[in-house]
Symmetry: C2
Subunit: 313 residues, 2 copies
């Protein structure tokens, strides 16, 4: 059932012993909103943990909080649009047991018993910030750091079209409560490992153009991971690069997975709809940033992508 | 004489027939705050023009406004810390004739008759936004676009340590008045010309490390401009790259000028002070972003830089 923000706040007030779950391949928003909500619930005197089925990427480890010991009663999902995005383990364990889902993906599949979805929010963390205010919880620097991280990572540091005046207002408030914005932004956006720097150079060398320069494709192979010493965990930033070239409307990053299959990240400039392109190949996401799996050879993967991109252009 | 914000607002109310001057090699802030102030003054019924002695870089041309015809009476400088930054022509014409300087550089040389300097402002455009409010001028989308551009360019799109809660509040207000933030940010930060993309690749290849990886240096030669088809106008973004590598405290970009001399852009992470490094070589700027001219051979230039950087580390 779809509920409103007040209902979501009431739900959080009325329940206890929370398990908060985040999506697989966790990013700054699912983790920032998850750990931020966890600390907010604890400061209301509730018990709460965030459960991940995988190790946190190094750059997000500062968001982590110590586990509490209690018997789980209430399951809340943050930033999870569909049970398939939980990862296999977590899906098996929690897929049918989510009491409340807090999300900002318009394509949310409403898998939870109660769902609050605000597709106008730039980040799930923006919604959690509103819930914290509505619940009268006193914000502190620890909560603010986590919510700021969620907002800044999901907006490319306030760069993308999902940013609204409200996003900036919330950022101002979080900084006022002590969020260390400068430090977080350096860690999220101004820090490349040396291995990533090498991978990025290789990725830029692989860039090719199609449709009169309106589409640019970068290809990252397992061989490039090996040679650079980098890994899949590090390559998210590369997905932004092809769309940055002047004239490019559709920027694609194809990366080879360990099993030899491929995955594409598609970034578009309006009016081209990345989500429409990816949904034709069984994927999905946001209007300007989507993805899909491509269980084909590289040539097949590219040709399938180019076909649907050609239609979209 | 140093004045406060109220005095600056009163000054603007009391005078007329404004020439607003911007600094040489104009960036988004000097142009955004200049043209924004120009439109704000006009909406008060004043006459105002912005005077540049050089063509606007292509990416900033949307900020331009049509010239008015009137006899100049009042000269206002925006984002100009010193007369030497006006460029030769403008310095000769206006260097000793500036009535009011509005600036956010702590190192402002107070060359104007009256100076309002707020070194806590992330951008000169932030100050102009405050003046517009103080003057009771009705903000509109045209003014908001220009001030937003100034703020977003001088903060690396809200990424740098100069951003305060006030910066985000003003951004929220400007978006509320119709600033097209998404479009401006794409044009400023997500758009690389193909020639720039090639230059960037070459620049990354030139990167070398010193002092156990705490200093990274990129070198851009005239030969690289020729081969990539790019030019000095385009290479500002490259200055951010060396500091982004993990462990780097001082990122330097040395570029060769047409006359064979060199210019260094120095970016630091705290606690290293870029302005202190550059001032030892006759340059200056902000704490984390400064520059200096190096009228030497490349080898000499590097060795002088490495000496002062070694002292700073």
């Amino acid at each position: 059932m779809i509920i409103n923000l007040n209902d979501a706040a009431s739900f959080l007030k009325e329940h206890d012993n929370y398990t908060i779950i985040t999506h697989a391949h966790p990013d700054g928003d699912t983790l920032g909103s998850g750990f931020g909500l966890c600390l907010a619930l604890r400061s209301m005197g509730k018990k709460a943990n965030v459960i991940n089925n995988e190790e946190l990427p190094a750059k997000f480890r500062f968001l982590d909080v110590e586990k509490q010991d209690f018997e789980e009663q209430t399951v809340v999902a943050v930033d999870i649009a569909d049970v398939t995005l939980m990862g296999e383990d977590m899906k098996a364990r929690y897929g049918e047991r989510v009491d409340l889902c807090i999300d900002h993906h318009g394509a949310n599949r409403l898998f939870a018993k109660l769902s609050y979805v605000d597709s106008g929010a730039a980040a799930a963390a923006e919604i959690v910030a509103e819930l914290v205010e509505l619940l009268g919880i006193e914000m502190n620097a620890d909560i603010a750091d986590r919510l700021f991280t969620g907002i800044s990572t999901d907006t490319g540091c306030f760069r993308y079209a999902n940013v609204t005046p409200k996003t900036h207002l919330i950022a101002a408030q979080l900084m006022g409560y002590g969020a260390n914005a400068a430090k977080i932004n350096v860690a999220m956006f101004e820090t490349k490992s040396k291995t990533y720097a090498v991978l990025e150079k290789m990725a830029l060398e692989s860039m090719e153009f199609h449709f009169d320069g309106r589409c640019a494709i970068i290809t990252i192979t397992q061989d490039m991971f090996d040679k650079s010493g980098s890994s899949e965990n590090e390559c998210e930033g590369i997905a932004a690069l092809p769309r940055q070239v002047e004239g490019v409307k559709v920027g694609v990053t194809i990366r080879e997975r360990r099993n030899g299959e491929y995955k594409a990240s598609v970034r578009t400039h309006d009016p081209v709809d990345a989500s429409a392109i990816c949904s034709k190949l069984g994927g999905g996401g946001h209007r300007n940033a989507s993805g899909c799996s491509l269980p084909f050879t590289l040539e097949e993967a590219k040709s399938k992508l180019l076909k649907v991109i050609g239609e979209a252009l």
